[in-house]
Subunit: 189 residues, 2 copies
């Protein structure tokens, strides 16, 4: 994407703590702190009513039986949605509601994924090539990356099985107390 106003990269070390197989993570990190995904964005302003868009590219890769994935976030203004639009590769959008419901949207080229207000979301590259998506969200959304860390990860893990994937329970997951979940849905501005 040309004419972006910002660019950032996330490296393997930025994903520390996300994976069940810590031995596999340490072994891969010992080979080098490679770039896992990068984002080029156009951020015209952060005003309410404006929109931010950009392109995200994630390498293929595995750590144990889990795939490369993004850290994931909920919007700081949690009622703000996000649009993802698949360009290349094969991925999943892993969605989790504040009270712990999981939904999975498979994304390939020309798939549009609408992340509704209040849903935590993370993308997962389940293919063997780069996963490239365009995204767009309200400019005043903000991001809360800590929400996943505070509950010990997302409720489910996406794991490889044969040529596909399945969900397993994340045994480290601590459900959000009902009042915390309710507050996330109640903070609309």
């Amino acid at each position: 994407m040309s004419n972006g106003t910002g660019h950032y990269e996330k490296r393997l070390s930025d994903l520390a703590g996300l994976y069940a197989d810590q031995t596999a993570f340490a072994a891969l990190l010992a080979e080098g702190d490679r770039v896992v995904y990068d984002v080029t964005e156009f951020r015209p302003s952060e005003k309410a009513g404006d929109v931010i868009f950009g392109v995200t590219r994630m390498s293929p890769g595995r750590i144990g039986d889990e795939f490369f994935l993004t850290r994931g976030h909920i919007h700081a203004k949690s009622d703000r949605p996000e649009i993802y639009y698949g360009q290349k590769g094969t991925g999943l959008m892993q969605l989790e509601s504040p009270d712990g419901e999981t939904r999975i949207v498979e994304i390939g080229p020309q798939t549009i994924c609408y992340v509704p207000p209040y849903w935590i979301h993370r993308s997962v590259n389940i293919g063997d090539e780069d996963l490239v998506m365009v995204f767009c969200y309200p400019a005043d959304s903000g991001q809360d990356y800590g929400i996943i860390e505070r509950s010990g990860g997302m409720r489910h893990r996406v794991v490889a099985v044969d040529d596909g994937w399945t969900l397993t329970d994340n045994t480290s997951y601590v459900p959000r107390p009902p009042e915390v979940a309710a507050a996330l849905v109640g903070n609309a501005v």
Copy 2:
């Protein structure tokens, strides 16, 4: 696009009055009131902070030396922007500020066009195949289609020349009075 919540078509008769060559327009319309463009959209809500997205497809065609184009609009909340993302074909986004400045953005596959707040915009199919674009805009934007009609069209016409296009003055254009242009920029909510 699947899972859309709405769909509409615009036919040739909906474009009456937009073209300089009214004889050519009448002759083409006599052959049948064909669909010029159609839009499939996903409109989750119309709340501030939500977003609407969709896909628009416009046929190739000419009326005199002008191309098939959309009626064009400014957002009813005029500070709301819009993103267009080219998928197929070759087009132009014709942008006009309230005080009459014209800007043109050429759009092909993978071109992202950001329509800034306060700009009137119309798309033009300058190619010989369908022009397909994805779009996204704030859910509370609204549309004012009358703005172009009230000034006798957009200030410039996009006309075919050799294998390309150029701009000519629209002789029917009546500039907006300064107070009208100022009010358009001042109605941000």
